[in-house]
């Protein structure tokens, strides 16, 4: 298939009728098709549930984090933006827990490898994406803030595709 090159007729060379024809297409679009842009700050763009936005640490029923400080998310992260300090909680039912858990969301590239790597569904990317700020510290998500991010997802639901909805973990 070869692209053909047109030979313009006098009518087309006259230019003005062509402009009118072009205008006609534009006007038809204006009338026939509905608006495609969204008025952003007033009406935010609706994202699907599995959108990879801000992280959250999922909680056990008691309000504690599910995370067992296995450091798999940290290993899988290509941007090296997760840092953690593990500790012994002194609770016989939990072996290890993250004393500190911090995600530097300025470094994060929202690839979702952490949620994929987590063996006990403890971290997840929520569909929340509006967390701009003027201050650098606001982007350092500490454990408490990550637990607080649970408010972006309805209680008891999972939004990520790589995670299960069932609970196998001992509480």
């Amino acid at each position: 298939m070869i692209t053909q090159r047109p030979r313009l007729s006098l009518w087309q060379n006259l230019y003005l009728p062509e402009i009118l024809r072009g205008m006609w297409i534009t006007i038809r679009h204006m009338i026939r098709f509905k608006q495609v842009t969204c008025e952003y700050p007033e009406k935010p763009h609706a994202v699907p549930a599995n959108f990879r936005g801000l992280h959250r640490l999922i909680q056990r029923p008691g309000g504690k984090e599910r995370c067992v400080a296995c450091e798999l998310c940290l290993t899988a992260c290509p941007a090296n933006c997760i840092s953690m300090v593990a500790a012994d909680p002194g609770d016989p039912s939990v072996e290890k827990y993250p004393l500190r858990y911090e995600i530097d969301t300025l470094r994060c590239i929202y690839c979702g490898f952490c949620e994929e790597a987590c063996p006990c569904d403890a971290i997840e990317l929520t569909p929340h994406y509006e967390f701009a700020s003027h201050r650098r510290e606001d982007f350092m998500y500490t454990k408490d803030r990550l637990l607080d991010n649970n408010r972006f997802v309805p209680e008891g639901e999972r939004v990520s595709k790589v995670q299960t909805n069932e609970t196998y973990l001992r509480v």
Binding site: N13, T75, P78, V162
Partner: protein, 398 residues
């Protein structure tokens, strides 16, 4: 300095900087042009402003982690780069994903190609003064980004698929979404073509502008739409079919003159052919079946199994910590990306990270001919040619 006729003439040339940050340079490209009036006497493109050391970074990232880098190479069509990388690693490992995964990847590739051509052509038309087309085309691209968003969770940096298949299955209404897109897509392409094909301004700006002959194009190493616009019917999808391209029927559009006009309409026709391929894929794609290889040394086991079975748990930890481990060896795999042949050359030493990664980006070879093409053109044509060659700085500098 001795004053001769040459220096006198030279001193009347004006040197201007175009870029590195200029709205019409897609990314950060720098061009130092010597102008004789409004004509380009000589030009020197300077590259490297968007160099992020992606090839070097490959040596420090695991095979699957490198997908985050390929995402950001040709950022107009991330799916094509990712699939290309996965194909290369899969070839190195000697594994073949199940048919369903390959069909889905074919569809994703063609959707990405449409996305690439829509941006390229839209912006090219915008650069030569046809703003309307730009908006109509972006509207179509938007629909595709939404489909990708639903499918992978991100609009642009999709980090999808994985070595060995897809990380998760498609959304339930994927087919309907794509069909709906195709229904709206054909009329828009026809309309955009109608708007420009016989438009005198567009013809004046593009016919004969930035032309390159077949022989020169081949000797520069052109591939993709730019080469096909010169009249060479070279397409990796036909020549060395990968994925499912040997099972679908499509034409390879070519041009004749290798100028901006031909490149534009070759891309238009290619987008249409891509839509045709997607249609056939939707028909032939199996609705059920696995989407990834059944080997936990390559793909993470499902979470249920990780909870219940010791073995799956061990595989999960092993895979996350070590990554996929191809055997030692070298491999080259090229695929037909939006701009031409995108190739990945990997040297593996048997560990979880590549020993060396080399990316053959089509833009690099096309951009090397830029000086030759624009010499003698008007300054306003610089942008038109740049847009129609579709130079993506992210891919050019890597």
């Amino acid at each position: 300095m001795q004053i001769t006729d040459d220096t006198l003439e030279d001193s009347q040339l004006m040197t201007i900087n175009f870029g590195p940050t200029h709205p019409a340079t897609h990314g950060t490209l720098h061009l130092i042009a010597r102008l004789d009036g409004e004509r380009i006497r000589d030009a020197e493109p300077i590259i490297g402003y968007l160099h992020r050391g992606k090839e070097k970074m490959g040596e420090h990232l695991k095979y699957n982690q490198y997908l985050t880098m390929t995402d950001r190479m040709n950022y107009l069509s991330p799916a094509l780069n990712n699939v290309g990388w996965c194909l290369a690693v899969e070839k190195l490992m000697g594994i073949t994903p199940p048919p369903r995964a390959r069909w889905v990847e074919t569809i994703a590739c063609e959707m990405a190609r449409i996305m690439d051509h829509m941006v390229c052509n839209g912006i090219n038309a915008f650069d030569v003064g046809a703003g309307t087309v730009f908006f109509y085309m972006f509207q179509q691209r938007e629909v595709l980004t939404d489909i990708f968003e639903k499918m992978t969770g991100a609009r642009l940096t999709i980090t999808w698929p994985r070595v060995g298949g897809l990380p998760y299955d498609l959304p339930a209404d994927f087919k309907d979404d794509v069909r709906k897109f195709l229904k709206g897509f054909y009329p828009i392409v026809d309309e955009c073509e109608k708007l420009l094909k016989n438009n005198r301004i567009f013809l004046d700006r593009t016919v004969g502008v930035g032309a390159i002959s077949k022989e020169r194009a081949i000797s520069y190493g052109y591939t993709g739409p730019c080469l096909r616009a010169c009249g060479v019917s070279y397409d990796l999808r036909k020549r060395e079919p990968y994925l499912c391209y040997d099972q679908v029927d499509f034409d390879v559009p070519t041009g004749e003159h290798g100028d901006c006009y031909d490149r534009f309409f070759v891309r238009m026709e290619e987008a249409r052919q891509s839509a045709r391929i997607i249609e056939q894929c939707l028909e032939k794609m199996p609705d059920e079946g696995p989407v990834a290889v059944d080997d936990y040394r390559v793909i993470l086991p499902p979470k249920e199994k990780v909870y219940k079975e010791m073995e799956a748990m061990i595989f999960h930890f092993k895979l996350v910590i070590d990554g996929v481990k191809p055997p030692p060896g070298e491999v080259y795999q090229g695929l037909e990306a939006g701009n031409g042949e995108l190739g990945f050359y990997i040297v593996s030493d048997g560990s979880g990270k590549p020993y060396r990664v080399k990316v053959r980006s089509p833009c690099y070879y096309i951009y090397s001919s830029y000086t030759e093409i624009i010499r003698g053109l008007m300054i306003s044509d610089v942008v038109a040619v740049l847009g129609s060659l579709n130079i993506i700085a992210g891919e050019l500098d890597r």
